[in-house]
Subunit: 418 residues, 2 copies
C-alpha cells in the first residue's frame, strides 16, 4: 500500500479535529482507499500552548518550512485562518511540489486566483471543499457533478452564527443583542462577531462558490454585503405573519447584464427549501439549466464536519498523486458584474400620508403591490407596511432617498426572495 | 485538445436527452474541461422508430457490437433499462476496454458485483451517478466526499412517482386509485406502475446507495419492500392531524446487529427535512459520524436531469482516461443483514375492547404510548389509534397476529420515523 505523508499548518480546533478523525479512520481509509495517510509534522504558534487534543510533541514545529519544504511530505493541509501568512505558506508548499488542502475561506476568496495559478504552474492539486459549508460537498458538486449544467443561480444560508441568531430571534421573539450575547456565551458566536454578523464571512464563501459556479472570478469586493445587525424582532414578525422566514441569504445570479452577487437579510416563503433551515445548519440551493433546482443541507461548521471534508480532500489529493496531476489551466477572467437587480421589498415606514409615499415610489417606477396600516399611529404618523412588486434595487433606493424626511421615516427595508 | 468518442446504448428519452444536452454544452465543456466529447454511434431497437429528437441517421445502428466493440470508442453510456441485455452489453464494452457510464438501476442493483469486478479486471471505470436520483450527486458524495465518515444511516424519498401520488393524496384528500390514474394521464406514472408503486424501484436504488455507503453488498432481495398500494387518505389524515407527513421511505442503517434495509410507507415529523419534499422531487438524508446529518434534494428523474448526470460521468470518465485508470479492488463481501429493527408505530384498529388490545401488545413487550378513540363506533367496535413506543418490528407483528379476529380488525399499520 502507498504511504502518503501529510503536514498540517495549524494545531487548533480544526487541526486537532483532523488529527483525531484521521487516527479514528486510518484503517478504514486503508481498506477503502488503499492509501496509508500519516501526519508527520504540525505547525503551531507555540509548542507549549494548551490544545483541544494531545498531539505527539515530536510532530510539532514553529518553523513553517518544516511543513512546506519537507522532502518527505506530499500533501500540506492548511487551517490557520486569515489571509496572511496562510496564503504565503500555501504558495511556498506548492512551489515545493506539495498538493494543498485548505479550509481557509478568507485566503481563498481574496488570493484564490494566485493560489490557483500556483497550483497550475507547479502541477499540484489545490483542494478546498472545507472552505465553504464544511461537510456539505458543494464544492465537489460544482467540480465533479454539475459540469454539464449552466448554473444560473445560487442562494444559500452559508453562515451558521447568523442563522442561529435569526432562528432564536424568530422562535423566542428576542432582540438581536440579547441573542448575540447568548450565542457568545454558548461559543456559537466569536468574541468579536463582526465578520459573521456583518455578512463578510458569507461574502467570502459566496465569492468562492460563485467563482466556481460561473467559471470566472467573482471578487469579494464586488459583492454587495449587508449584515444582520439592524434586524429587529418586528421585521421577523412582520414576515412571519405573511408566511415568510427571515434569513441572511447569499445570492449569486448569472443574468443578461452580468453576475449579480449579494449578501443581505431577506424574506423567503415558508415553503421554500431554505425557509426550514434553522439553527447552526447551512444550506445551498442552486438552479442549473439541466438539473433544475437542487438543495444541499448540513452542518456548515465545527471541528468534526470540517475535518471530514479536509480528510476527504486529502484522500482525493492522494489519489491524484498516483498520476501526474495537471490542474486545469485556471480561467481567471473577471466576470462582468451587474450593477442593479430586481427584487420585491417589504418596507416599513412611519408616514403622515399614505398617498404621498405611494406617489414617491410611483415617480421612481416602483409599483406597490400593497400598503397596509399596521397598528396605531402616533404624532401624526401611522405605521405602514408597503410591499413592492418586483422592482429594480436602484429605483427602490432612489424612492427611499426621495421620501421627504419631514413627513415620514423608514424603519426597515427587507428584500423578498423566492 | 483531447477528443473522446462516445457510444450510446439507447436512443429513447434519456438517449435523446444526452444527445441534446451534449450538443448544447459541447463548447462549454471544451472550455471548462479541455475535452471534446463526440457521440459516434447509437444503438437503437429500430432505426425507423419515431424518437423524441432527431438523431443523425448515420450514427444509428441495431448491432450492439458497433458500440461495445468499436475501436474508436472510448466510453460507452448505457440507458436501455432492464437487467438484460443491458448488463451483458456493459460487460462486453468493458471486456473491450471501454469505460462504462450507466443510468440503469435495475442492472446495477442486481448485477453490480459482477459489473464492478469486470471494471476492476479490465482497468476501466464504471460510473453510475445517473442510476440513483438523476441529477442529485449522491453517488459522487459517497465516493468522493464522505470517505472519512462512517455512514450510519440513509433515509430517502427516492421514487418520484410515489412521492407525487402521496403528495397529491395528502393535498387534495384523494384516493390512491384516483391519483394514480391522473398521474398516468399526465405521464408521471407508467402504464404498468407496479415497479414504482410496489416499492421495487426504490429498493433497487437503496441497494445501490447502501452498498456504497456501507462498503459491501446490500442485495436487493434482502431489502424488506412494501409499496403504497394500501395507503388510504385516512392514514395520511391521521398522521397530518398529529404533525406527521406520510412518505414512501427507503431506509438503511448500519447497526450492531448488521445492516437493516427497508422500503415502506412511513410517517415523519413535519419539521424533518424530508417532510417538505413534495411532488416529483427526490431527497436523500444521511448521517455520518463526522459530518452529522446531511440532506440532498432535487429532481430525481426526467431526461434533462438524468442527461446532466450522465454527461458529468462521461467527463469524469474522460478525465480518468488521461491516466491509467485503476478501479479500486471491489470489496464485495456480503454484509450481515439485521433480521429485526426498532420503530414506533401508528396502528388503527376497530376493536370491541381497548383493554384487550393493550394486553396483547403488552404480552409481546410492545409498550403503547397512547390509545385514542377516533370517531364513533359501530357494531360494538370502536376505532382506536394506538401509538407504540419504539418497539421491535418482530414483536409488533407478533402482537398483530395475536389480536383475536373475533374482537378486533386492524385497519392500518404505519411506521413512524424521525
Amino acid at each position: 500500500m502507498k504511504t502518503v505523508n501529510i503536514g498540517l499548518l495549524g494545531g487548533g480546533n480544526i487541526g486537532c479535529g483532523v488529527w483525531t478523525l484521521l487516527q479514528d479512520m486510518r484503517q478504514d481509509i486503508q481498506k477503502r482507499c488503499h492509501v496509508d495517510l500519516r501526519i508527520t509534522k504540525i505547525l503551531v504558534r507555540d509548542i507549549n500552548e494548551p490544545r483541544p487534543c494531545a498531539l505527539p510533541p515530536e510532530l510539532l514545529t514553529t518553523n513553517p518550512h518544516d511543513v512546506t519544504r519537507a522532502d518527505n511530505i506530499q500533501i500540506v493541509a492548511e487551517f490557520l485562518g486569515g489571509i496572511q501568512p496562510a496564503a504565503m505558506y500555501m504558495q511556498d508548499a506548492m512551489a515545493h511540489k506539495k498538493a494543498v488542502v485548505t479550509a481557509n475561506k478568507a485566503a481563498l476568496a481574496t488570493e484564490g486566483a494566485s493560489l490557483r495559478a500556483a497550483a497550475s504552474a507547479n502541477h499540484v492539486g489545490l483542494h478546498y471543499e472545507a472552505s465553504v459549508c464544511a461537510a456539505i460537498p458543494v464544492i465537489g458538486a460544482f467540480k465533479h457533478s454539475l459540469q454539464a449544467n449552466r448554473v444560473t443561480r445560487i442562494m444559500g444560508i452559508i453562515n451558521g452564527t447568523t442563522n442561529y441568531i435569526l432562528s432564536e430571534m424568530a422562535q423566542h421573539n428576542k432582540d438581536y443583542q440579547q441573542v448575540l450575547a447568548e450565542a457568545q456565551r454558548l461559543g456559537l458566536a466569536e468574541p468579536d462577531p463582526s465578520s459573521d454578523v456583518q455578512g463578510r464571512d458569507a461574502a467570502y464563501k459566496l465569492s468562492i462558490l460563485a467563482s466556481l459556479a460561473f467559471g470566472g472570478q467573482v471578487a469579494v469586493q464586488h459583492i454587495y454585503t449587508e449584515g444582520i445587525t439592524g434586524v429587529t424582532p418586528e421585521d421577523i414578525l412582520c414576515g412571519k405573519d405573511r408566511g415568510y422566514a427571515l434569513k441572511l441569504l447569499a445570492i449569486a445570479k448569472m443574468g443578461e447584464h452580468g453576475v449579480e452577487a449579494r449578501v443581505h437579510p431577506a424574506l423567503i416563503p415558508n415553503n421554500h427549501p431554505l425557509a426550514g433551515v434553522n439553527g447552526a445548519f447551512n444550506a445551498v440551493h442552486l438552479t442549473g439549466h439541466a438539473c433544475g433546482d437542487m438543495t444541499f443541507m448540513g452542518k456548515g461548521a465545527g471541528p468534526m464536519p470540517t475535518a471530514g471534508a479536509v480528510i476527504s480532500d486529502i484522500i482525493n489529493a492522494a489519489e491524484a498523486l498516483a498520476h501526474l496531476y495537471i490542474e486545469e489551466e485556471s480561467q481567471e477572467q473577471a466576470l462582468s458584474m451587474a450593477e442593479d437587480w430586481q427584487s420585491a421589498y417589504f418596507i416599513r415606514i412611519l408616514a403622515e400620508d399614505e398617498a404621498g409615499v405611494a406617489a414617491v415610489f410611483a415617480r421612481e417606477g416602483v409599483s406597490l403591490a400593497s400598503v397596509e396600516q399596521s397598528g396605531e399611529g402616533t404624532g401624526g404618523r401611522v405605521p405602514l407596511i408597503c410591499t413592492t412588486r418586483p422592482a429594480s434595487e436602484r429605483a427602490v433606493r432612489a424612492a427611499l432617498e426621495n421620501l421627504p424626511p419631514s413627513a415620514c421615516s423608514v424603519q426597515s427595508v427587507i428584500r423578498v426572495e423566492s
